[in-house]
Amino acid sequence: MNLLLAGPVVLPLLGAALCIGAGRSRNAQRVIAVLTLTAVAVLSAVLLLRVDDEGTVAVQVGGWEAPVGITLVADRLAAIMLVLAVLMLLAVLVYAIGQPGAEEDHVGFHPVYLVLAAGVALAFLTGDLFNLFVAFEVLLMASYVLLTLGGRADQVRSGMTYVVISLLASALFLAALAFVYAATGTLNLADLSEKVAALPTGVRTGLALLLIVVFGIKSAIFPLFFWLPDSYPTAPSPVTAVFAGLLTKVGVYALLRSQTLLFPPDTRPGTLLLVVAALTMVVGVLGAVTQDDIKRILSFHIVSQIGYMVMGLGLFTVAGLAGAVIYIIHHIVVKTTLFLVAGLVEQRTGTGKLAELTGLRRLEPVLAVLFLLPALSLAGIPPFSGFVAKLALVEAGMGAEAYVVVAVSLAVSLLTLFSMSKIWSNTFWGPGPGTDSGRTLTAPRRALMVGSTGGLVALSLAIAVAAGPLYALSERAAADLMDTRGYVEEVLGR
C-alpha cells in the first residue's frame, strides 16, 4: 500500500533525477521516462482496483499520523484521476518521442515531463491542503518550462500570460492557506473537514468562495479562464495535449475535493456554481465558434467543457457528481486525443489554420477517422463516450430540477457540434489534393504518433462500450464524495 500511494509521486522524481543525469543520451532518457511512466501506470491501476474494492486508503508520510504529518490518501475519485492522468502522460510521451522536434531539441524535456507527472500525481493523492499547494507548484513549474521550451516569440508572449496568471493564483492560494490555518490551526483535509464546520458561517463561506476562485483559475471557469485560450495553442502539440487533458482537470479535481470535503452543506454555493457553470459553457463555446485555428478552437472548448464538470458539482447530488466524474473521464481522453490529432494535422500540412487547410481526407484518411470519432464524442453525439457523460449530467440536472442549466448545456452542445463540423468541413473535406508540407514522417515516427493517437481513440471507444461499469464506478466515487466519513476516518485513523 505504501508503494501504491507513494510510488506514483516518488518514482517519476527518481526518473527525473536519472534523466537529468543521463542528459547527454537521448535514448537513455526515453527509456527511463517510458519505463517510469509504465511502472506508475501499473501501480495506479492496481491502486484503483484496490480502492474500488476496499474503499479509501491512506498512508501517513514519514510515519507521522495525521494531522501532524502529511497524509497520502486515495479514494475512488483520486484513483480514477490518477489512472487516467498516467495513461495520458504515457500515450503523449510516446507521441512526443515520435514527433520530430517536440522533445529531441531539448534535453530538459524528459525530466521536466516526469516532474509534471509527479506533480499531477501528488495533487491527486495528497490529503493536505498545503501539500496540495506544493503539488500545484510542482506541476505548474514543470508546465511553465514545457510551455516555453523553444523560446519562440509567441511562446514567450503566451507563456508570460500563463506564468503570471498562475503566479497570481498561487499567491491567492497561499493567502487562502493563511486564512485557513489562522481560522483552524490545521492543514490536513480530513481534519479541516471537521474543524471548518465549527467556524462562523461568514468565515466559512468566505473561505469556500476564495478556494473556488483559486481552483477556478486553474480549472479555467468563468470569469477566470481568459489565460487558457491565449496560452495553450502555442506550445508544441504533445505539451498542449497533456495540458488540455490534465492540467485544468487537476483544478476541477481540487474544486470537487475541497467543496465536498471541506465545507458542510449549508456553505456549498450550489446556485453560484451552476450560474458559473452555465456562463463557462456559453462563453467558452462562443469563443470556440469565433476561432479559425484548430488548436484555438479546441482550447476554447476546454473552457466550455469545464462548465459541464462544474455543473455536476454545482448540483451537489450523487447523480450530479457521478455525472461530473464520468464527464471528466471522457473529457480527459477525448481532449488529449483531439490535440494529438491537431498535432498530426500540423505535422502533415505545416499549419493549423482552417483557411489554409482543405481536403485532407484524401491525403490522410486515417487521420480523418482519428479526428471524426473523438470530435463527435466531444460534441456529445451518441453512442460515443461524450454522449454518456452528457446524458448523465442531463439526467442529474433534470433530477435536481435545475432546468435552466440543463437547457444551456444542451444548447451549448449544439454549438460544440457546429465548431467540430467547422474543423471537419474545412480541414478534411474540401477540394484538392489538400495542403501538404511535404514533411512526411518516417515509418517508425509515424507508427509512434499515429499509434498513440489511435490507442487513445480506441480507449475513448472502450469508455463508451464499458460505460455501464464506468458509470457505476463514478457513482461510487460520487457517493464517497457526498459522504465524507470514510475519507475522514481512514485519514485520521479512526
Binding site: 506544493v134 507548484e137 500570460t161 486564512f179 490555518y181 489562522a182
Partner: protein
C-alpha cells in the same frame, strides 16, 4: 495578530496588485514579488502573534507557532525558483521582442477587430467559415 501587521499585509498586497496590473513586465514581476511578501506576512500571522524562536530544549515557553514558519520557508524558496524562471522569461522576451511590454494576444485582437467589422456592416458570410 495585530491590526498594524494585518494592514501592512494589506498594503503589500494592494501595491503588489497595482504593479501587476501594469504593462511593463519588470513591474509585473516586482508586483508579484510584493504580493508574495504580503502573503508571507499573512502566513506568519496565521500562527498568532509570534514569540520566541522554536528551539526546543531552551528555556522558553512562549513559542512562536513553528508550522507557519515552515510553510513560509517553503513558499519563499518556491517563489525564488519561480521568480528566477520568470526573470529568465522576461530576459528571453526582451531578446525576441526588444520590448518590455506585455503585448496583447495577437489572435484575440484579430478576432476583436473582425467582430467590430462584422458589427459595422452585417457581412454576408454564411455558416461555412
Amino acid at each position: 495578530m495585530s491590526v498594524l501587521m494585518a494592514v501592512t499585509a494589506g498594503v503589500l498586497c494592494a501595491t503588489g496588485t497595482y504593479l501587476v496590473l501594469g504593462r511593463q513586465l519588470s513591474r509585473v514581476i516586482i508586483g508579484i514579488a510584493m504580493l508574495g511578501h504580503g502573503v508571507n506576512v499573512l502566513l506568519v500571522l496565521s500562527g498568532g502573534d509570534g514569540g520566541d524562536p522554536v528551539l526546543v530544549g531552551e528555556d522558553v515557553t512562549d513559542f512562536a507557532d513553528p508550522l507557519p514558519q515552515a510553510l513560509v520557508l517553503t513558499a519563499i524558496v518556491i517563489t525564488f525558483g519561480v521568480i528566477s524562471f520568470l526573470l529568465a522569461l522576461a530576459y528571453r522576451s526582451w531578446v525576441v521582442t526588444a520590448d518590455d511590454e506585455v503585448e496583447d494576444d495577437v489572435e484575440d485582437r484579430r478576432i476583436a477587430r473582425e467582430a467590430e467589422h462584422l458589427l459595422d456592416d452585417r457581412g454576408d458570410e454564411g455558416a461555412e467559415r
